[in-house]
Symmetry: C2
Subunit: 211 residues, 2 copies
């Protein structure tokens, strides 16, 4: 049951969770796959398959118990036992991510941030910004396993190397560059350019249609 969740399904799970949580707030105790599907713009069968892979089934004529689904999704996604992470690169984007409270409820706990410019403490940030020289040491001491890279593209690879050497296993890369890592390390690229490519093409076509 746990093994066979496809990447695509996995990426939809947070959406289900969002949707179900908002239903729960409206005191909707049970929910059918059809409702969820319509609410998220997905196929009904797809929703059933996805939910089946992370939770025990629903009942005919009733649907799923909302609360149970939420619990199972959160458990599966690891939102209950949070992961510690470090962020490297306290520029605009880095600071924006640091001050985003939402990550904590996704089980991501940013315990420290690093930058070359050392610690310029900002108002509404929880963590201090440390000099990058201390990055490796801190990762080792706290057994950090997730690294977030928000440095300029030219420095991304060297930061990546430091993280990997310090025991980090998963990297969330916001720099617009490809990172080379050993096979057992996962890199997830937050690929803004790819998103733009899709938007841009859609637009070009639409504008072309209307002459």
């Amino acid at each position: 049951m746990l093994q066979s969740v496809s990447i695509q399904t996995l990426q939809r799970l947070p959406d289900y969770l969002n949707c179900l949580k908002s239903l729960l707030q409206r005191n909707i105790e049970t929910v059918s796959a059809k409702i969820v599907a319509e609410s998220l713009g997905l196929g009904e069968i797809q929703v059933r398959k996805d939910l089946a892979s992370v939770s025990s089934g629903g009942k005919p004529k009733v649907g799923y118990v909302t609360r149970d689904l939420v619990r199972d999704l959160e458990t599966y996604l690891g939102y209950h036992d949070s992961h510690d992470a470090v962020l490297v690169g306290a520029g605009k984007l880095g600071k924006a991510l640091l001050s985003y409270e939402g990550f904590r409820e996704y089980g991501l706990n940013i315990v420290a941030a690093f930058d070359t410019k050392g610690s310029e403490s900002d108002d509404d940030m929880q963590v201090k910004i440390l000099p990058v020289e201390t990055l490796s040491d801190l990762c080792r001491r706290l057994k950090i396993r997730i690294g977030i890279i928000t440095v300029p593209a030219v420095h991304a690879q060297e930061v990546c190397d430091i993280l990997v050497q310090s025991g980090v296993l998963a990297i969330w890369n916001f720099a617009p560059t490809h990172l080379h890592v050993p096979g057992n390390i996962l890199v997830r690229n937050e690929n803004m350019a790819a998103s733009l490519a899709i938007l841009s093409r859609h637009l070009s076509r639409k504008l072309l249609e209307d002459q």
Copy 2:
């Protein structure tokens, strides 16, 4: 040639462009698909197919002419003729995106930003932050076709509705919520939670492997 580019391929094109540009800076005039593949961690055949769909072919024993590929990729991705866009929600993330210069070179030109709190002019931002009441009017007047949503989730749908009613055709949504739009409008979700899901699962597995 232009029609048959798959979504997956389209998303890889910006990576190719990045890679090729950096090769060009190192005065590498021609490049083989193999080199590009290794540099990006992709399959050799895949690279060839992708490149073939946007550019005229390479020569045996020599490879592709780097400069030509860059030009063709940029043309295909529309980086030459830029699209105007508006951004709604000048919180932390919104401001971070506003001050990111990189978008311009991707052909995205953010001409205005909006927020409920009106115009609090910030230091290094090019555009002023306007009251959201004027959003619809400006979109119509300037014929804006791309909207970027960085408001809290609860307000995302209403902002989305305004944008759509004002003629916007493509929406880049950073709010963690699903948006309902007419069929001819494209929504691209920048799904941070989905990325986290993938990172988190990888981590859980790795930690499990090592007990």
